[in-house]
Subunit: 448 residues, 2 copies
């Protein structure tokens, strides 16, 4: 039963021979083009493919090509940036189309025979001590996986597909799930897809996974990594086999790990292909609102043109700050969600009384007399004084007041944008309808 | 200015000679009637007038006559009850009209030449050790005041009128203000109306007022009284000049004392007759509701036929119990008020979401798995699980559910009546309209 299920899944995710040949051909052609351009430039650059295609752990149909232009370490970073972009662009010009993208440094994203190709300048590093830019490590990752995978490629494919199915795949900051590299490490460490699932609980308790024994080989550096990640309360710490300074699972959130935790358990008890290929979770957020009797406050705004890694954590902080302020104002916030350009707040009510009762001190004390003097309307409740002041009743007025006064903790790059946000009640722009549904229905992190 | 004000007030509250003569005449006539009836009965009973008329501390126009029939101590209580009522009724029959009323034991309330007369059987006690029924003490009170007042009758009148004006007069359980006797004691103790006002803060700090030095004369008994009253957190303890077992201010609430506290201060700073004769605090409770944006939940019910002293404290306990339950259900209760046959609850909202979110334990714990197994809908929030269950949305449904299940602390004599109460939202029967206004506007205990 279990084996049948896995076989059935593999059938549809493992690339067939024809697909493999095609991919290989495309990569060879790209390498040819790149080498021609490099030769013309006279620079000493090695072409290296990295990523799941290079490691042969890609899923059928998943063909994003990562072609790295590896410069010698002797070249200064500034030159690597300018020369690298120049050569990448020259290669881009020979493809069907291309554009320049910006991460830590610029790279070229092109299309060749229908395949997406990222052409990324980097240093030709041999170990972690030589790493200078964030992308350099990819070369080491690819080498490590190729050396250690020992034919377990299909096990990685199963795990990746499983993680996609349960919505826990992808380490981008707006997902915080498992990266492909993390999936590879886990299969290499534990031996198979099923064994990784079986370790879902164990990993959390063990906390630290250290396949290359960095804690012995480089105890000081590795312990620093462990301490840092524990302080930041990460669910698991996977010390990068090629770099003791890094937790491969640094971006993995407790929620995404939780999905893995419960779905692994579910699969082991009741194997089914459904978890790999779930039905679409589509639904109408307005119906959810009606059923629950709660309300959705949406802020939409235009963040500055910075990468997600900067913007999204700041939006998160802002969303939490606004929720806290609304709670202080007496609105009960049931949940928050956010993205690059929006914040959702689910609240119990959108109207509150237009007065606010202030509880005062004991009436026969010095503080009592101060309270009496300071307020216009004062009455006695038991031994204490109380007073009322008028307040805004509608949540939009209250939020606008909070925003205008800037009384909320917020990320500095997004604060201005969010202060000018549109506030919409119980309705969202079409582009956010599905997000709103996943949030309000709690399908997003639902485990049962 | 101050003297002028007091003179002006006295002018209208001090009974004129004509009124005094009339009152004296009426009392003499009543005494004559009573003595005739007593003679016919052959019993050995003394007629004694008590209360403010007997003490000459009554306000002009306040003419409720208390005529006590004092039986010798040798008579057993049962006989005092039956014989006392029989004779009181015989007197009643010679008046314009009468009816039987019930306190600790029955008495007769009649009308004679337009005056209300209470005819109350009691024991002819000479000191507190002889006191057997609650009313016996009145004879001692009257004697004590007559002996100690030394011409300060008008000062008492000023204090009584002041307390009436600020709504702090009357020690009935539904008011919990100052009794007439308490006003008399304070004037006797401190010397004048103004001196009593000046002591408003001092009294609270001093806590104990003991005009007859019971703490020295009967330290054990008096200390027991003090301890008991402190435990019950009474604002002040005035040891009854005629009975060390009793706090004359036992029924005085912190709220009523608070009114006195702040109004005394106000009068001393800015003397005005307004405080003695305030304008009517009339208003429309519906307008208050509209202004505040809050809601009024009213329960009306028919309590069993027991005296206020029993019913009202039980209604109070029940009102607090219901408020607590509603808070637990997620409704915010801003205030409560109550009377013999009604409970008011002011709430922020009358609708709540139709779902309730249950926060669960950490997801990777034993409790987490139990929570997962026990609930139908489960999702992850951070490191914790959460679940939702449907709940009643409308406050009337929630209250009816609480009442039906009996899940609230209540007085035993009123619980049945309140379980069957009518629940009305944002509307009250006409008879409660003014009460509702005083409550919602907080005029009831307003000090500024």
């Amino acid at each position: 039963m279990l084996k049948m299920t896995l076989k059935e899944v593999l059938e549809s995710i493992k690339p067939k021979d024809e697909e493999r040949k095609k991919v290989k051909l495309i990569m060879d052609e790209l390498r040819g083009i790149a080498q021609e351009v490099i030769e013309e430039s006279g620079e000493e650059i090695e072409v290296k493919f990295v990523g799941s295609l290079a490691k042969d752990t890609y899923l059928s149909g998943d063909h994003d090509i990562d072609m790295f232009l590896a410069f010698p370490l002797s070249i200064p970073v500034e030159k690597l940036k300018s020369k690298g972009l120049e050569i990448a662009e020259s290669i881009g010009k020979r493809l069907e189309s291309y554009e320049i993208s910006y991460a830590e440094h610029p790279y070229v994203r092109g299309v060749y025979k229908g395949y997406q190709v990222d052409i990324v300048p980097c240093y030709n590093v041999r170990d972690w001590r030589e790493v200078r830019t964030a992308v350099d490590r990819s070369i080491l990752h690819t080498e490590w996986v190729l050396k250690n995978i020992k034919g377990k490629n299909d096990e990685v494919r199963l795990l990746k597909r499983f993680l996609k199915g349960i919505n826990a795949y992808g380490s981008e900051v707006y997902r915080r799930g498992f990266s492909g590299y993390l999936a590879e490490i886990l299969v290499i460490k534990f031996g198979s897809f099923l064994k990784v699932l079986e370790k879902a609980d164990f990993m959390l308790r063990q906390k630290i996974i250290d396949p290359e024994n960095w804690l012995k080989r480089e105890p000081e550096i590795a312990m620093k990594t462990v301490k840092r990640e524990i302080e930041e309360d990460k669910p698991i710490i996977v010390i990068d086999p090629v770099d003791p300074r890094r937790n491969v699972a640094a971006n993995l959130s407790w929620e995404r790990y939780g999905l893995f935790y419960f779905k692994a358990r579910e699969f082991l008890t009741k194997p089914s292909t459904e978890l790999f290929f779930p039905r679409d979770k589509k639904g109408n957020y307005l119906e959810v609102l009606r059923r629950k009797g709660t309300h959705l406050v949406t802020l939409t705004f235009e963040p500055p043109n910075l990468v997600d890694d900067i913007i999204i954590p700041q939006v998160e902080r802002t969303a939490k700050g606004l929720a806290r302020q609304l709670e202080l104002e007496g609105f009960r916030v049931l949940g928050i969600d956010y993205g690059r350009d929006f914040i959702f707040l689910e609240v119990e009510e959108i109207e509150r009384p237009r007065i606010k009762i202030k509880k005062g001190p004991l009436y026969f004390t010095h503080h009592g007399l101060r309270f009496f003097d300071k307020n216009d309307i004062v009455w006695i409740e038991g031994k204490e004084l109380a007073s009322e002041k008028s307040s805004l009743g509608f949540i939009v007025d209250v939020l606008e007041d909070i925003l205008r006064k800037g009384q909320f903790s917020a990320g500095k790059n997004v604060k201005d944008a969010i202060v000018g946000a549109n506030i919409i009640i119980d309705f969202v722009p079409k582009a956010l309808a599905q997000e709103a549904y996943l949030f309000l229905s709690r399908e997003k992190f639902r485990v049962k």
